[in-house]
């Protein structure tokens, strides 16, 4: 089976069949992120359509590495943009950064949803909640601090600690 990089390369060559395979492989991820952010099907479908059409129209925005991770960011940003503005105009695709091509990027791309959910549940609530609020809720660290009544510095410390712990748990999952 072709990986994400190979599919994107064919999409760059205007291969509609490759695009369909890419959709089949990643649409549940994109739609799931949008649903988690928006909480309603219509908006999630609009975001999914917008994300995939952007991929079709500008596949060069993704250079290499973890395609799933990049699509997660695109879907999240698009959904948050819709949530904030309620404008149906999707955001521009972010440029893919070389920093996003860490050595384990493609290994982490093979993580399944259950493993990640399990790793998240292992986080203490005071770390998991600000992380989920920041990622899916689109809140800034200041908004998280204000909503939870926790000092800003503590929120930032908990976010960092939580992500490091999550990373360590996921390391174990991918090596298992």
């Amino acid at each position: 089976m072709e990986d994400g990089g190979q599919l994107i390369a064919r999409v760059r060559a205007r291969d509609a069949a490759a695009f369909e395979r890419l959709y089949d492989a990643y649409h549940r991820l994109v739609y799931g992120v949008a649903m988690r952010v928006l909480g309603e099907r219509s908006g999630a479908e609009d975001v999914t359509q917008a994300v995939f059409m952007k991929v079709w129209n500008a596949p060069e925005k993704f250079a290499s590495g973890n395609l799933a991770g990049w699509l997660v960011r695109v879907a999240r940003n698009s959904a948050l943009d819709l949530l904030r503005n309620r404008s149906r105009q999707p955001v521009e695709l972010p440029e893919h950064s070389a920093l996003d091509d860490g050595p384990e990027a493609e290994v982490f791309a093979r993580l399944d949803a259950l493993s990640v959910r399990s790793a998240l549940e292992q986080l203490p609530p005071e770390q998991r909640e600000p992380i989920e609020s920041g990622f899916f809720g689109g809140l800034t660290h200041e908004e998280i601090a204000r909503n939870s009544g926790v000092p800003l510095g503590t929120v930032k410390t908990r976010i960092r600690s939580g992500l490091l712990r999550l990373r360590a748990t996921l390391d174990g999952a991918v090596r298992a």
Binding site: Y23, Q49, L99, L170
Partner: protein, 264 residues
């Protein structure tokens, strides 16, 4: 906590996407110059991305959860295929829209004149070559005609010499052969003539008082000579051969090598 440790926390919040844009820009700029913060970013990036993977469960049909409608895929794929075909037709249209190169009128006229001159010179050259070829062809045809005639004569002579219908008159070292109106002297082991001499044939016609001179000939190195006698054989009653000076004689100057009478 040091200022740099505070920056590491900002990197974590940045990776999560929870920094306001102004602070996010500052972190991006800092990442360009700080190796430790870059390592922190690279470490935390997969964890932040993995958060999205956890949301995929919401769309997992095996869990009975909500999944995107099938119409969504049909809508997207239809749009992509339409776009793909439009791109193709646009490309074809671009190809068709390529404007032809337009030359100025004077350039066209000059090019035509030059082309005409070249054509005339080329034609003259071709005509001259054609004339030369025609002359050569004519000469070759004439030569071929000669060769053809010779071949026909040789074939006729050969047929006459071997024909069972021919009349044969033996002589020393050979024979005189008569076939209808044609007459031949066929010799073998004929001694070469002395220097300055040739063999000459003589024919005696019916009711004639004396022989008349005919062709001269010399046998080849093997002593073979096949000599057609240019005469109507029907009127010849005798044939003789004698040694004569080169160029032949009007009267025999030596005793004949042979004389043979031909029956009618």
């Amino acid at each position: 906590m040091s200022a740099h440790e505070l920056m590491l926390e900002d990197v974590a919040v940045y990776v999560l996407g929870a920094l306001p844009e102004a602070e996010a820009a500052a972190v991006r700029s800092h990442l360009q110059t700080c190796d430790e913060c870059r390592r922190e970013y690279v470490t935390l990036r997969p964890a932040a991305d993995a958060l999205g993977f956890s949301a995929e469960a919401c769309a997992d049909p095996s869990s009975g959860a909500i999944v995107p409608s099938r119409r969504l895929k049909a809508r997207i794929i239809q749009q992509v295929r339409r776009d793909s075909s439009q791109r193709l037709s646009t490309n074809i249209g671009e190809l068709r829209a390529v404007r032809p190169i337009v030359w100025p009128a004077y350039a066209v006229a000059a090019a035509c004149l030059a082309l005409a001159l070249i054509t005339v010179i080329f034609n003259m050259s071709l005509n001259e070559e054609n004339r030369q070829f025609e002359t050569q062809l004519s000469q070759l045809n004439a030569h071929a005609s000669v060769l053809t005639r010779e071949l026909v004569v040789q074939r006729t002579e050969l047929a006459d010499l071997v024909s069972p219908e021919s009349q044969r008159y033996p002589v020393t070292n050979g024979e005189v052969i008569k076939h209808r109106t044609r007459l031949y002297i066929a010799m073998e082991q004929m001694p070469p003539p002395p220097k300055g001499k040739v063999y000459q044939a003589w024919t005696l016609h019916a009711r004639a008082a004396k022989m008349v001179p005919s062709v001269t000939f010399v046998p080849n190195r093997s002593g073979v000579a096949v000599v057609p006698i240019p005469v109507n054989a029907a009127s010849v009653v005798a044939v003789a051969v004698s040694l004569e000076p080169e160029g032949g004689s009007k009267q025999p100057t030596s005793a004949p090598a042979f004389v043979v009478k031909l029956t009618q």
